[in-house]
Amino acid sequence: MAEIKLNNLTKRWGDFIGVDNQSLHVQDREFLVLLGPSGCGKTTTMRMIAGLEDPTAGEIWIGDRMVNDDLPKDRDVAMVFQNYGLYPHMTIFDNIAYPLRVRGTDKSEIKPRVEKAAEQVELTEFLHRKPKALSGGQRQRVALARAIVRTPKVFLMDEPLSNLDAKLRVTMRAELKHLSRALQITTVYVTHDQIEAMTLADRVAVMKNGIIQQLGTPDDIYNDPANLFVAGFIGSPAMNLINGSVTDGMFVTTGGTRLVPVNSPDRAKAILGVRADDMHVHEQGQGDIDVTIYAFENTGESTLLTVQWGQQRVIARGDRHLRKDQDEVVGISLNQDHLYLFDPETEDRIRM
């Protein structure tokens, strides 16, 4: 059990900055997700914690020890790799037992511990097989078992679900969550999948260009995004971002529609953010504004209406029983409690 502290951590390769002067404090027993698009520095950050990458500057603390100069083997972390990193020439039993063996665990202890770990991930019947004879999901479980077979200070997981098919990913996600709750070990989890981040995390750190854009609970980053990037990255479908200005306390779209009152001084340029769920669909004439349907999609659990709004298209979520068709006209109203205003220059949130 340990907390992780990163102090002004930087990783540079020549001119390329992977992680830029980043500090982060992961609490003891916390499940922290590093979320961001590829190349944002999230994997690099994790690899520096594991000791697989040397930081250019800054300090890494695990527990009360600065581990910058420690080899990976001395950091007492366990890691799950994106491609699982299983040893192809060893049986599943030997794969799971390996961390115990290299750490000189007593022989009589190895078998029960491997069996217990295998049981936790439901692998007991495959222990004598080689990794090649297992499916992707089963290999993922082996990698997990190898991580949980001993009790490390920290779990590191590098996109562990990204090589699985969509259906399996959902199952494994739940298993991971269940397991991590049971084990109560500090975990850093890297992903580019916002659903994984939202569902698994105690706190999410959204990264871009080597910098954490926002650090907060899933609720925080969904309901209270710090800037345009976080707002656009979190949520599916992505938050609608409407260009316009603020005039006399009203948000006016670029097309000249006076849309909604906003609590902000006048500004020549502003972006209004509104999630699909906060755009209510009405019959023609009954909303704040009438728009034409560009595309109507029925996903089963709800309906998605892409509507043409001046030069822009925005997405509204409708009731699952709603049936409309392309080119029909509907009314739209905005939930005024959940509107976000951003500065297009700095991309920062304008608090209202």
Binding site: A50, K73, R75, M79, F81, Q82, G85, L86, Y87, H89
Partner: protein
């Protein structure tokens, strides 16, 4: 023309060339090995002798067994040393290793030299009067100052081995660098995080995954070591005495120098036998790799 016919027609020239340069000589050598086969005796190339030549090699010729022994020692030493050095260098030069590309380019130089040239250079370098190595050893290790390397039976063999190891390290290193590059990086990193030391990562994870490539390297080098001729011919000519006489050299000597073509053909066929096993093993490993 049917595709089927065309496909055989297209490989026909290659088959003919292989037949003329490899298969036919092998058959002809097999025939000769059962004849008296003296170059200086007209008609003896057709004079059938039965298994006499083979029996002679086995039971009457200590020089044959000597060359078998020399070849065995030579092969074990060169294969072992070359593989070990090449593996060490490959680990240093592989992506993520400690040395990189400029060193790789430099490394290939010895392999670009012909074995005969390597033989000549080493003979010069170990010349007791003006040899570079001879002088070096004399300064670095004074007790070795008066040693005539190529005149001492054991040391002469050591020099031949050294020349061969030197010449072959680059090629094997390059092959092993390729092999190391195909070992998945995350298995190595997983072992590091799991708590393995550098040595254990190598022993438990890298080496087992490198094993198929290593096997190919060892078999290939064994084939080349077994048939070594040019270096020995240029460096020591089998001497002093017959201390460095490999099988190839023995075959050449009996056939070309003494004119005993029949006898040398039979020894040559004796050498074909281990070669067939090695080649078979080689093919098996290479094609097994292609299957995966």
């Amino acid at each position: 023309m049917r595709d089927n016919t065309l496909k055989y027609l297209l490989v026909l020239p290659a088959v003919l060339v292989v037949f003329a340069t490899a298969i036919w000589p092998l058959i002809e050598a097999a025939r000769l090995s059962f004849t008296v086969g003296r170059l200086n005796r007209p008609g003896s190339l057709e004079q059938y002798l039965g298994w006499e030549n083979y029996l002679w090699a086995f039971f009457e010729e200590p020089a044959f067994w000597n060359s078998v022994w020399v070849t065995a020692v030579y092969t074990i030493l060169t294969v072992g040393l070359t593989t070990i050095f090449a593996l060490g260098l490959a680990l240093l030069l592989a992506p993520g290793g400690r040395l990189r590309s400029s060193a790789q380019t430099l490394l290939i130089l010895p392999f670009a030299m012909s074995p005969a040239l390597i033989g000549v250079s080493f003979r010069f370098m170990f010349n007791p009067e003006f040899g570079l190595f001879d002088a070096f050893f004399g300064v670095l290790i004074p007790p070795l100052a008066d040693v005539s390397w190529l005149a001492d039976p054991q040391l002469a063999l050591a020099v031949v081995v050294m020349a061969d190891v030197w010449g072959w390290i680059p090629f094997l290193t390059l092959v092993l660098i390729g092999g190391l590059a195909s070992v998945p990086r995350d298995t190595i990193e997983a072992a590091q995080v799991d708590g393995a030391s550098g040595w254990r990562v190598f022993k438990d994870v890298t080496l087992p995954q490198l094993a198929p490539v290593l096997a190919v390297v060892i078999i290939l080098k064994s084939i080349f070591s077994l048939k070594t001729f040019d270096q020995v011919f240029m460096l020591t000519n089998g001497g002093p005495g017959t201390a460095t006489q490999t099988l190839s050299h023995y075959i050449y000597f009996n056939g070309m120098k003494y004119g005993q073509i029949g006898y040398s053909a039979s020894v040559a066929w004796l050498m074909v036998i281990p070669m067939i096993f090695l080649t078979y093993a080689y093919a098996k490993f290479v094609f097994r790799k292609a299957d995966q």
